[in-house]
Amino acid sequence: MNGAGAMTAVVAPLLVAAALAVPAARPAARRLAPWAPLPAVLLPLFAAGTVDVPWLLLGARLGLDEIGRALLPPTAFLWLCAGLAVPHFVGPERRDGFLVCFLVAMSGNFLLLAALEAVTFYLGFALMSFASYGLVVQAGTARARHAGRYYIVMVVLGEVCVITGLMLLASRSAIDFAAMRASFAGGAPGANNLVLGLLLAGFGIKAGVAGLHFWLPLAHPVAPAPASAVLSGAMIKAGLVAWLRFFPVGELALPSWGLALAALGLGTACYGVLAGLPQREPKTVLAYSSVSQMGLMTLGVGIGLAWPERWPLVQAALLVYIVHHGLLKGSLFLGAGIAHEPLSPGAARLLAAGFVLAAVSMAGGPWSGGLVAKLGLKHGLPATGAWHDVVPPLLVLSSLLTALLLLRFLWVAWPRTAGGRDSPPARLLAGWAVLLATALVLPWWLAAAGTRAGAVGPWAALEAAWPLLAALLLALGVLRLPTLRRVASRIEVPPGDLGIALEQGLRALGRRLDRGLDRVRQHGSVYRQAGRLAALVPAAATVLGRVEGRLSAWSMTGLLLLVVAISAAWLLG
């Protein structure tokens, strides 16, 4: 895609958003809004290549490289589907504001995918992050506001880490990705670690790695379904994409970082599931599932950092993973939104079938896109050594856990027929179905031939199926055993798990600090001293007046004249 194409893709949503601000253009813009991603979906198919735009920002470079080409169309497609669903989920009185945020976030998302250097990337990243705030708090409820606050705090923290890290990187190289990645080779280990740490944290917030994920389960459930869909499907991937862009994956072996990232990823994968299982809301469960899935993708980055020579494989797998998870999670969120409403029996059946398919695919079930993605990741592992031995079982475990979590999802979100009077419009369901189908199919098309081949074999199917079955059995066991069921129902984890405790602790600290400051302000010695000094002024004025009076006495004047005259003569003589 050439520069103009990329620009069109990025600017189109912005133009529509701007049109929404003008009263006269508003109706047309409303109709146009869902189609704003269309250029981004289509243009990459026709154009390729990079272009320098020297007048933009600090000298921009736009275009689609391997990553962009793989990610932009599916992402845009997700946005398109979500956008089409917006009128259904967002009331007309708030729709304009929502659409503006939606379109701006979309534009940011496209920009960060089409950017080929740090500053433009950062611009897209920031645009997307800040605009999504509007998506999170759209409902306007206290819960939405709380989630929004959490979200924005994390966003700001993330942005600051990112920009600091980027500055550190930019200070030693040009701002295009390749140069930045290459600069790690020459960087001092300390500096490298700092940059990597900052970027890990900064983008990790977006990607929702364990410990930084708290905002995610808070924000996704409160947002309207289309918003959750893009948040979870498209936007959190930006963190991962950023790592691919800035980490020296495939170029420099950083075994300790690789190990750390892998561990973090696997930890996140497990933690997400464990914290998600007790959740009661479908969208919260899905959010934790996203956390968990992002953990697996983090593992991929870890592999890339530890084994540069394996990177091409890993990257291909990761792209598949991103596309697959993005579209699938998008469809799940949308579906959960639809399922929340009264459904006709047919619709309920359709949704239920879709959910099951999606769950299987997400857990890496046989013949699923998820399996393709996961296999790709496994192929990326080094052929021998500890990694080779340790990681695959863990992946299996993660499949099992994922399956459990999705079972939990199916349990809480199972579409039920209620009344059956109002059914979601067929258009909505059709769109959803298309999205789901794309999610299921696209990985097959994107994945490397080897991986594809590996995924279709019966052994592979079997290997993929048993964790699912195990999970099913486990779930059934829990349901069947009343004790376990009771214990399970007692476990309550608030959405946002540890983050909520953290928040409360910080608030208490702030209150205490505030009280302390108040006390200082009231009894501070500086203020008292100032008051005491002020009280001296009238007294000093009286003294001054009296002295002046003394000086004006004639006796004094006469004496002083003599004194001055005599001393003048003395000093002269």
């Binding site: 007046g545 003394r550 006495a553 006469g558």
Partner: protein, 109 residues
């Protein structure tokens, strides 16, 4: 020479007496008189000191003194007229010192 010195000495004496009175006496009339006495002293000093060089009588200091006397009379007259007015206006022929100054700060024009 000696008589000139005597004149000069007397002039100096008058000056001292004048300063003494000017400083220590509060009544304005006395102050005016003190100034007058000082003036006379200064004129005496001028003539006396001018004559100490000996030789024929030097008319220049004498002429100066005559001019000085007239000036002094003018000043004295103005001073006395002022004293009179002050006495009329304030009932007191003295300058306000410490206490009255405050009063003046407040209402004076």
């Amino acid at each position: 020479m000696s008589s000139a010195l005597l004149y000069a000495g007397a002039g100096m004496g008058l000056l001292l007496v004048g300063v003494w009175a000017l400083v220590l006496r509060a009544h304005l009339l006395r102050k005016v008189l003190a100034i007058n006495v000082m003036g006379s002293g200064a004129f005496l000093l001028l003539v006396g000191a001018g004559a100490m060089g000996g030789g024929p009588v030097d008319p220049v200091p004498q002429a100066m003194v005559i001019t000085g006397i007239v000036v002094s009379i003018s000043a004295t007259a103005l001073a006395l007229a002022l004293v009179l007015r002050i006495a009329y206006a304030t009932g007191k022929a003295a300058l306000p010192e410490d206490r009255e100054r405050d009063l003046m700060d407040r209402e004076g024009r």
